[in-house]
C-alpha cells in the first residue's frame, strides 16, 4: 500500500483586515474538520523566521498557500525558502470572483463570514485530495 504524503496548508493570517482572518479560519476548518488526517500546518512567521528545519516544511510536504490579499505573503515565502507551492489561494481574488464583499469584522466572523470560510475550506479540502491523488 502506498502511503500518501500529508499536505501542508499555510495561511497568511494577515492582521490588517478581515481577509487574513478568513484565510486563517478557512485553513483551520480544513485542518480540523474536513481533512484532519491528511493535513499539517506551520505558523507563517515561524516559517519565515525559522532555520532549515522550518524551511524544510514545504520541501517535505506538498504545500498549499492560503493568502488573504494580493500581496501573497504565504505564496512568496514558501517559494523563497522552500519551493513553489503545490497550490495557491488568493482569498481577495476569490471573493471578487464570487461577487461577495469581505467580512466587516476582522476579529469575529459573522454568520456570512463563517459561511465564506467554509466555502474556501471546501475548496482547500478538494485541493488536498487532488494533490494526494497525484502524489
Amino acid at each position: 500500500m502506498k502511503i500518501k504524503p500529508k499536505v501542508g496548508v499555510v495561511s497568511c493570517s494577515g492582521e490588517c483586515c478581515s481577509l487574513g482572518t478568513l484565510s486563517r479560519v478557512a485553513t483551520r476548518i480544513a485542518l480540523e474538520e474536513l481533512r484532519p488526517d491528511q493535513t499539517v500546518t506551520i505558523c507563517l512567521p515561524l516559517f519565515l523566521a525559522g532555520e532549515t528545519e522550518e524551511h524544510d516544511f514545504a520541501k517535505v510536504f506538498p504545500t498549499i498557500a492560503v493568502d488573504g490579499c494580493g500581496k501573497l505573503c504565504a505564496k512568496k515565502a514558501i517559494t523563497k525558502y522552500s519551493k513553489e507551492p503545490a497550490a495557491c489561494f488568493d482569498i481577495e481574488a476569490l471573493l471578487k470572483e464570487w461577487g461577495v464583499e469581505p467580512p466587516r469584522n476582522r476579529r469575529v466572523l459573522d454568520v456570512n463570514g463563517v459561511e465564506m470560510a467554509r466555502r474556501v475550506a471546501e475548496l482547500l479540502a478538494d485541493k488536498v485530495d487532488e494533490i494526494q491523488e497525484v502524489a
Partner: protein, 134 residues
C-alpha cells in the same frame, strides 16, 4: 496627535495561544484603544515590505506572543523595530492555571477570558507608553 502605537501579535495558527494573541490585539485596536493603536501584518513585515518596515522603525511597538518561540518579538527586532513592551500569553497562563483554552479556530470560553485579560494588559501598556510620550 501622538503617533499610534503598533501592537503586533504572532497570530500563531497551531495552538490556541496564537489565536489569543490575535484576538486580544484586535480587541485593543478596535474596541479598547481605537485610534491610539494600530497593527500590521507580521508576515508582510518579515517578507521585507518597505512600508511595514518603515512603520515599525518609526513607531513604538508592543509585541504579543503566544508561545516561547516569540516570533513577533524576534521578527520585529530583526526588521529594525524597537520593542517598547512585550506581552506573552504564556505569562497569563501561568497566572491563570485554572484556565485551559483548547480551541484554535474560534476561541472557547477560557480562551476568551484569557484574551480579555491580555487585551487589558496590552491597553495598560499602551497608556504607559502614551504617558511617557507626553
Amino acid at each position: 496627535m501622538t503617533k499610534p502605537i503598533l501592537v503586533i501579535p504572532c497570530s500563531g495558527i497551531g495552538k490556541p495561544f496564537g489565536s489569543i494573541s490575535r484576538d486580544a490585539t484586535f480587541l485593543v485596536c478596535d474596541e479598547l484603544r481605537p485610534g491610539k493603536v494600530d497593527t500590521l501584518c507580521l508576515s508582510l513585515l518579515v517578507m521585507g515590505d518597505a512600508e511595514a518596515r518603515s512603520r515599525v522603525a518609526s513607531s513604538k511597538c508592543i509585541t504579543v506572543d503566544g508561545c516561547p518561540l516569540e516570533c513577533s518579538k524576534n521578527n520585529v527586532e530583526r526588521s529594525g523595530g524597537k520593542v517598547a513592551a512585550q506581552c506573552r500569553v504564556m505569562d497569563l497562563l501561568r497566572e491563570n492555571r485554572g484556565l485551559k483554552p483548547r480551541t484554535v479556530t474560534f476561541l472557547d470560553e477560557d480562551g476568551e477570558k484569557l484574551s480579555k485579560q491580555l487585551a487589558e494588559r496590552i491597553a495598560a501598556k499602551v497608556d504607559e507608553l502614551m504617558e511617557e510620550a507626553e
